[in-house]
Each structure stands twice: as structure tokens, then as C-alpha cells.
């Protein structure tokens, strides 16, 4: 009974908020271009479902490609850095600068480099830039997170550097790598959307483009519909990755 209540609580809250929104729009006669009622948004969502889903897939695909690129690069750099403390000192500030620079500020530059005809390259590059740091940071931390007593045992057994890396540090880093990828995936979607906004209408077909297009035409209900799809996309991605992380961790720990 209590579990049922816990499960229903968020649904009930959303339903109440939507009802209040709908009532307010009708009672106060708010113009639809300013704030459309939920019923209008739902109608728009239904009407535009095919194009919205295609755009959502577009954005998701860009984000996933960016995630793969960032994953390979970040783990490769982290591995090199983990082998040499000097290199880590050298790379850290650069990685931090990369992380704290707002992606939207770098975007116009990357769009120029990628070429006006290739907005998808700019989108992947920018999303990869944002996804890089959490994976890199997780990998570096993870590679140093091995149980110090296990490190001592490896000393005692006279393990080589390669043995220590392959049989102790990499496996120890697994939970950190999973966490890093989970955070990075969410950021990659944000990065892709930001990049789409900056790249504008030059052939980008993602959700941000739908929002821009509808905004220019003052089709506010369609803007909301695209936002809803974006929100659902993020939530589904997060939930999926959470489950994947749990499954891999269970495999890693044996339960």
C-alpha cells in the first residue's frame, strides 16, 4: 500500500499541476502563443509525433556518437596519464579549462571549423567535448582507487607495471568508469542540443532545430511538444544507463 502511494505520488503531482495549468489558461484567457494549455500541447505532440521522433532520434544518435568518441579519447588519455604523474600534472589544467569553458561559447568556432555544410560534425565534436571530462576524471580517479593493501600485495608478489595495470588498476576502476559514462551521456545530449542551436538551420534536424523552427513561427505548442520529447529522451536515457550500470556492477561484484 505504502509502495503504491510512493509510486503514484509523482504521477499525482504532475496531474495536479497539469490540471491547474489547463484551468488557469482557460479562466484567464491566456493567448495560446504565449502559454498554450496542456491539451493544445498534447494535440501538437500527437500531430507532430513522426517528425518529433525523427528529430529525437537524430539528437540521440549525435549524442551517442559523441559519447563513443569521448569515451575512447578520455580513456586513452587517462591511461597514458595514469602511467606518468608528470603527464597528469601537465594534462590536468588543460582538462579543467576544457571543462569550465561554456560549450555554447566554443560552439561558433567549432561550427566554422566543421564547415557550414557539415553541422553534424560540429554537433558531435561539441557534445564529445562536454562528455570528455566526466569520463576522463572518472578514469583517472578509478585507476588510482585500488585498495592500498592490494597494491602492497602486488608489491610483495613482485608484479610488473603491466600486471598491476591489467590485473589491479583497470578492474578497480570499473565502477568509476561506469559512473563517468553515465554522467557523460546526459551531458552529451545537452552538448548536442546546444550545438544544434548554434549551428542553426543549416541542415541540422535535431530537437533543438524543431524548437527554433516552431519559435520563429510563434507555434508555442510545438515548442512545448519538442521540449516534452527532449525531457522524456533525457529521462529514458538516464534510466537505461542506470540499469546498465547496475547490471554491469552486479557482474563485477558477483551479486
Amino acid at each position: 500500500m505504502r509502495r503504491l502511494a510512493e509510486r503514484l505520488a509523482p504521477v499525482v503531482l504532475v496531474a495536479l499541476l497539469l490540471a491547474a495549468w489547463e484551468t488557469a489558461c482557460r479562466l484567464l484567457a491566456i493567448p495560446a502563443y504565449f502559454l498554450p494549455p496542456p491539451s493544445r500541447i498534447a494535440a501538437s505532440l500527437a500531430a507532430d509525433a513522426p517528425s518529433l521522433l525523427a528529430s529525437a532520434w537524430n539528437t540521440l544518435f549525435m549524442a551517442l556518437v559523441a559519447l563513443a568518441v569521448a569515451s575512447v579519447l578520455a580513456q586513452a588519455v587517462a591511461l597514458v596519464v595514469a602511467l606518468s604523474p608528470i603527464l597528469e600534472r601537465a594534462v590536468r589544467p588543460l582538462a579543467v579549462v576544457l571543462q569550465v569553458t561554456p560549450v555554447v561559447a566554443v560552439a561558433p568556432l567549432v561550427v566554422i571549423w566543421a564547415g557550414i555544410d557539415h553541422p553534424e560534425r560540429a554537433i558531435v565534436a561539441l557534445a564529445a567535448v562536454v562528455a570528455f571530462f566526466p569520463i576522463f576524471s572518472g578514469a583517472v580517479t578509478g585507476l588510482k582507487s585500488a585498495d592500498p593493501d592490494l597494491e602492497r600485495l602486488f608489491d610483495l608478489y613482485g608484479a610488473t607495471r603491466v600486471q598491476r595495470l591489467m590485473r589491479l588498476r583497470l578492474p578497480s576502476a570499473t565502477p568509476y568508469l561506469l559512473e563517468g559514462h553515465k554522467v557523460a551521456a546526459g551531458l552529451a545530449v545537452i552538448g548536442a542540443v546546444v550545438a544544434e542551436f548554434v549551428a542553426g538551420s543549416g541542415g541540422a534536424q535535431g530537437l533543438a532545430w524543431r524548437i527554433l523552427e516552431a519559435g520563429n513561427r510563434l507555434q508555442t505548442a510545438r515548442m512545448f511538444a519538442a521540449l516534452v520529447v527532449l525531457g522524456v529522451l533525457g529521462a529514458v536515457l538516464h534510466a537505461g544507463l542506470e540499469r546498465l550500470e547496475g547490471a554491469i556492477l552486479r557482474l563485477w561484484r558477483g551479486r
Binding site: 585498495d147 593493501d149 592490494l150 602492497r152 600485495l153 602486488f154 608489491d155 610483495l156 608478489y157 613482485g158 608484479a159 600486471q163 590485473r167 589491479l168 578492474p171 578497480s172 570499473t174 563485477w252 561484484r253 558477483g254 551479486r255
Partner: protein, 248 residues
């Protein structure tokens, strides 16, 4: 014959100053030595010196056992969570270049020796504290060490498990006769398991007393209730208290 010895050994840490010594300690072949003393007296440091995991600031450490002939068991089981019990135990052999199949077979034998024949494929997370400690012990024994170093190995376990493991260690000692040095806070455990109890004092660790324990090893039933056991425990307790007073 002496298998390892600390001679006038001192250890200084940059941040804390003197951590140990000067300390003289000789370990004979097949001897079981208990190091007792208050926290921070340098017991674990002495153990790491004997293992060759740390170098002294001054003095000499003489170690006879070659590479792979010394094993250490820590207070926590210190198992790799991603490996099965068998793979954990096989690790020291595999790192030394033993082919995987041979190593895993010997690991299964070592697990059987500590009474875990059934648990070879379990992961550490599926084992109780006592069972995980047995796996750790099996990993230490798999290389047939001549010197076995135990750093408060049973401190995190309940009394019944502790006693059972103490008897298991003694039974294993009776078969393979490695020299054993173990660190403990527990006077009764020290007297029960050791042939010689070395009482250390705090700040920094010095030997306050060395107490020989009479009686056969492994211990007969009712050893804990014998007059000899109680007298020796009393002697160790007094030496421990005297050492703490002198240091205060």
C-alpha cells in the same frame, strides 16, 4: 636458525617523526611470534619491514626468504571483488608466471586446506567475514611461504570465528611449519597462538618484554583454561601495562 631479523631498526616518517625503534627482533625458522602493544606502537610497521614492503630509516633488516616465500595477511581480507575466491587465491602464483590452469588447481587445494572447498567459485561479496578471511589465508598459503606475516588478521571477526581461525592457523602451521609473526591487540590470542610473545610499548615502539609460552603447539583442548595459560597471559598483561606506564 634465524629466518629474518631486525637489528637496531628505526623508522622515521617526515610528518610524524619517529614511528618505530630502535628495535631488535630475530625470528627463528618455524617460530610463532606474537607482537602485542598499544595502537601506534609500530607493530604494523615492524611487520611491513619484515615483509620488505618498507625500508628502515636506520638499522638493518635481514631477510632469508626469497621472492614469493613471504606472505602477508592484512586485517581486512583484501580480496579483489571482481575475482572468484579461487582466482583471488591463484593471483600470487599467476603474477609469478605459473600457468593459469596449474595456479587455479593449486588455489583450489589451498582453499580446501582452509576448509573452503565448496566456496571456490564464490565472489568476495557472497562470503561472510570469516570465510573471506579464510580465502585471504589461503592466498597467503598458496605459495608455501617460509615466513607468514599476519597483521591483526582476526580483529574484525566475532569471538567464535576468531578462535576457530586461530586453531586453523595452528593446524596449518603444524603441517607446513612456516615462521609466523602476527600482530594483535588481544593478549589471550597472543598467548594461545604464539611460542613467544613480544610486548612493545608506545611512542616509539620498543620491546618492553619477551615472554616465552610453554606448552605444545597446536594447542590441546582446554589449553585456555590451564593454569600455565592464565599465568602467561597475566605476565604479558603486566608487561603491557608496565610498558604503557613507562611510555606515559
Amino acid at each position: 636458525m634465524t629466518i629474518a631479523a631486525l637489528q637496531g631498526v628505526e623508522v622515521d616518517y617526515p610528518a610524524r617523526g619517529r614511528a618505530l625503534g630502535p628495535l631488535d627482533l630475530a625470528i627463528g625458522e618455524g617460530e610463532i611470534i606474537a607482537l602485542v602493544g598499544p595502537s601506534g606502537c609500530g607493530k604494523s610497521t615492524a611487520l611491513r619491514l619484515l615483509a620488505g614492503l618498507e625500508a628502515p630509516s636506520r638499522g638493518t633488516v635481514r631477510r632469508q626468504p626469497g621472492r614469493g616465500e613471504t606472505s602477508v595477511v592484512f586485517q581486512a581480507p583484501t580480496l579483489a571483488p571482481w575475482l572468484t575466491a579461487r582466482a583471488n587465491v591463484a593471483l600470487p602464483l599467476e603474477l609469478a608466471g605459473t600457468p593459469r590452469r596449474v595456479a587455479r588447481d593449486r588455489a583450489a587445494e589451498a582453499l580446501a586446506r582452509v576448509g573452503l572447498a565448496a566456496g571456490v567459485d564464490a565472489r568476495p561479496a557472497q562470503l561472510s567475514g570469516g570465510m573471506a578471511m579464510r580465502v585471504s589465508l589461503a592466498r597467503a598459503l598458496v605459495t608455501d611461504p617460509r615466513l607468514l606475516l599476519l597483521d591483526e588478521p582476526f580483529a574484525a571477526l566475532d569471538e567464535i570465528t576468531r578462535r576457530a581461525l586461530a586453531d586453523d592457523v595452528l593446524a596449518l602451521w603444524a603441517r607446513y611449519r612456516p615462521a609466523i609473526v602476527f600482530v594483535t591487540h588481544n593478549v589471550e590470542e597472543a598467548v594461545y597462538m604464539a611460542s613467544r610473545v613480544v610486548v612493545m610499548t608506545r611512542g616509539p615502539g620498543l620491546v618492553a618484554a619477551q615472554v616465552a609460552v610453554d606448552g605444545p603447539l597446536p594447542r590441546p583442548a582446554h589449553f585456555r583454561t590451564s593454569a600455565g595459560f592464565r599465568e602467561t597471559a597475566e605476565t604479558v598483561s603486566i608487561a603491557l601495562a608496565a610498558g604503557m606506564e613507562a611510555a606515559a
